[in-house]
Amino acid sequence: MSHSAEHHVTGPKTYAAVLGGLLLLTIITVYASYLDFGSMNTVVALLIASMKGALVALFFMHLRHDKFNAVIFLMGLLFLAIFLIWTLFDINTRVTVLPTNLKAPVQAFPGAPLNKPVRPSTGQPVGTPHAQ
């Protein structure tokens, strides 16, 4: 319990440098949004955001000198990741099976793409000609 009892005091100069870094990364992320990395666009945006987040957490929130609370914070992020990844186990491997008695495909809203539905009778995606 004595680790942060020493109360590290970081000076304004460090904080100003961190602010500079944050503003720089903000410019970079806006700039990057005009570039096209294909499917990596979101990854790049999240990566830059995470760098900014790390700066805020480590310096402004003093996690640099506060390992114990850093572990607690990371636990929160870890369980959020578990929530996302375990849900994706389902979402990414699910095929929409339409009821056999369905006359027309489910239309979420006019013109919306369907989520890869499959006709259980043929195993073919909906839209391919129905073999008679």
Partner: protein, 222 residues
């Protein structure tokens, strides 16, 4: 762990802010900070749930989300990002001023933080009123005309839920900072006792942290 301060009564070498069930100020400070971090974890998971829902719906309707985000004003979003980052900076300086017993500076930085928060909300107000005017509203209230890509209402569902919940947090943060400001003016804080400033700062940085993710996910989809 020393045994010198077991009685834990106010006035025996400890600050008058020591509560009766703590043995010494260090213990009380640790507890307060730990409590705040635990609360921040709950905030991360609260917003996290929204982010997960947003991510999954985005992956389901990429064209709709892509088309819808063009209605957002990147400049206003970027300005608000900068304003919040600066407010985080002034907040951490207020903590520093409290840590080093600089009362006047602490008050000054707290006021600056409040000002930044106010600017953020004003910009947000203009953004919202623009969306209201154009009928870019969540769910069944979406009335925007002339969309070529259907389903954009869902993007605005998330836009209003995420920025709205974030905005509520900004308001709560402002109230907390106001309370800290009153106590700072009263002269409560010094290098011996500054944990309310510290934990309010933590809360405010988290509000900033969440915006850091909202900004690229909402305004900068490409």
């Amino acid at each position: 762990m020393t045994t010198a301060t077991h009685t834990g009564h106010a006035g025996d070498g400890n600050s008058k802010f020591l509560q009766h069930h703590f043995r010494e100020m260090g213990q009380q400070f640790e507890a307060a900070k730990l409590g705040m971090w635990l609360f921040l974890v709950t905030e991360v998971l609260l917003f996290g749930g929204l982010f997960v829902g947003y991510g999954i719906m985005h992956a389901r309707h990429p064209e709709a989300f892509m088309a819808a985000h063009h209605h957002l004003d990147k400049v206003m979003g970027a300005v608000n990002t900068v304003v919040l980052l600066i407010s985080s900076f002034t907040m951490v300086l207020a903590v520093w001023a409290a840590q080093t017993s600089r009362r006047t500076l602490c008050i000054l930085f707290l006021i600056l933080t409040l000002l930044c928060a106010g600017v953020f909300l004003v910009v947000k107000y203009f953004e919202y009123s623009h969306k209201f005017h154009d009928g870019l509203l969540p769910g069944k209230y979406y009335t925007h005309q002339g969309d070529t890509v259907p389903g954009q209402f869902m993007f605005f569902s998330f836009y209003f839920m995420m920025t709205g919940l974030h905005g509520i947090h900004v308001l709560i943060g402002m109230i907390a900072i106001l309370w800290i400001l009153v106590r700072a003016i009263r002269g409560d804080f010094s290098s011996q006792y500054y944990s309310p400033v510290d934990i309010t700062g933590l809360y405010w940085h988290l509000v900033d942290l969440i915006w850091i993710y909202v900004f690229p996910l909402m305004y900068l989809i490409s």
